[in-house]
């Protein structure tokens, strides 16, 4: 009995694993980006590029898998297997398909309010918030939606547009950092790293640095600029140099460790920059 369950579970795991490994094999191995959920405008979806068929879509040269956007519902057409919406956010129009899963609908009926509430709340010419993945079907681009829900707060709409802009600027002009100088400093650091290492990892550390918090970048810059021996710097010392609470430094250090930007030396609280 036990063995039966185990082998069943193992089989399921195996299937999942093979699916996981086959998807990044389509291109670059940066599958950390494959898990992203990015706020976008409809125009960005329309402008997204695909280096080759079946490749992940690129917006501002960054891979996108899931996107999040808001817009006005211009058309709703219900079929037996899916509901197709036409969404217009003022920057363009795109079709959104939400598959009707009879299993989930049944559970929603019992767990939540009334039958079919999920679809009746989104009204024609009302605003909706969509979360899904960019897909193509016979050269037509659409969004396969995980969720389409009504949006009733104007501030949410505006916040989304600003958020999309911020993320766009992040990918095109780099992280905000402490004003222009911070961003410039990072770029310079990245160049030095790139100059030191050849094509092995390219802008690896610098690119990874884009994903971390400003505090983590601060620690990175301190480790980089401060004279030190091979053992690097101790967490307490970093905290006192930056006059920051040790807790915050520990958390940001954890972030850098997880991103593979720094490594631990003497003990787990002494860090040095990982350079190739």
């Amino acid at each position: 009995m036990d063995g039966g369950y185990n082998s069943y579970g193992g089989g399921g795991g195996g299937g999942f694993m093979s699916g996981e490994t086959s998807s990044p094999s389509g291109g670059r191995s940066e599958n950390r980006d494959n898990k992203t959920l990015r706020p976008v405008t409809v125009k960005q979806i329309a402008d997204a590029t695909q280096p080759y068929p079946e490749a992940p879509f690129l917006i501002d040269n960054a891979e996108v898998n899931h996107v999040l956007f808001v817009g006005q519902v211009r058309n709703i057409s219900s079929q037996s297997t899916n509901i197709t919406y036409k969404i217009d956010d003022g920057t363009g129009e795109i079709e959104v398909k939400k598959w009707v899963d009879s299993a989930t609908r049944d559970s929603m009926d019992t767990d939540e309010k009334g039958p079919g509430d999920g679809k009746s709340e989104v009204v024609l010419n009302g605003y909706a918030r969509v979360f899904g993945a960019i897909k193509t079907f016979s050269n037509k681009r659409y969004v396969g939606a995980h969720s389409v829900r009504p949006l009733s707060d104007l501030n949410e709409l505006h916040a989304h547009l600003l958020e999309s802009t911020a993320v766009h600027l992040f990918f095109t002009q780099g992280p905000p950092g402490g004003g222009g100088s911070g961003a410039g400093g990072n770029a310079a650091g990245g160049d030095a790293v790139m100059g030191g290492a050849d094509d092995y990892s390219g802008a690896g550390p610098n690119k990874a640095l884009m994903g971390v918090s400003p505090l983590a970048r601060k620690i990175y810059n301190l480790l980089k600029s401060e004279a030190q021996d091979d053992a690097g710097m101790e967490m307490q010392h970093i905290a006192s140099r930056l006059s920051l609470p040790t807790m915050d430094v520990a958390r940001a250090g954890e972030e850098l460790l997880n991103a593979g930007i720094i490594f631990t030396t003497m003990n787990e609280h002494t860090w040095a920059i990982l350079e190739y």
């Binding site: 920057t91 010419n125 605003y127 707060d153 104007l154 505006h158």
Partner: protein, 123 residues
């Protein structure tokens, strides 16, 4: 290309007027304001601290005084040389103006035109 309706403020009306915009492909815009007067086939919205805009209504437009509305429309000349207005194509009622922050909208307009590549195809 699908229809694009950039969000604007009253000060942008001129730039989106059919005569001044050169080869701009769209004169259809979105604008946000509070309904401040209703006169049959025209109405006025107040756009925060950015002035008023006259709307040329459709027969089936149903606006209510004091509501925050989002207008999709075309920039047009008003009758009798009264400057520029917006010919309404559609409106969305966002309810009480106190529920939304007009300054956020101003920021959105600023972002729309400053980083237009993600919002509309400009000239």
């Amino acid at each position: 290309m699908s229809l694009q309706t950039p969000r604007i403020l009253p000060s942008h009306l001129n730039a989106f007027h059919p005569s001044s915009a050169g080869q701009r492909s769209t004169h259809t815009i979105r604008i946000l304001g509070t309904v401040s007067s209703l006169r049959g086939d025209t109405a006025t919205i107040t756009c925060g601290n950015n002035g008023d805009v006259t709307l040329i209504l459709k027969p089936d437009s149903h606006l209510q005084m004091g509501k925050m509305i989002e207008v999709v429309g075309k920039v047009a000349d008003l009758e009798g040389g009264q400057g520029l207005g917006v010919r309404v194509l559609g409106t969305t009622d966002w309810g009480n103006p106190a529920d939304s922050d007009y300054r956020t909208y101003e920021q959105v307009v600023e972002a729309t035109h400053r980083f237009k590549s993600i919002f509309y195809d400009g000239e």
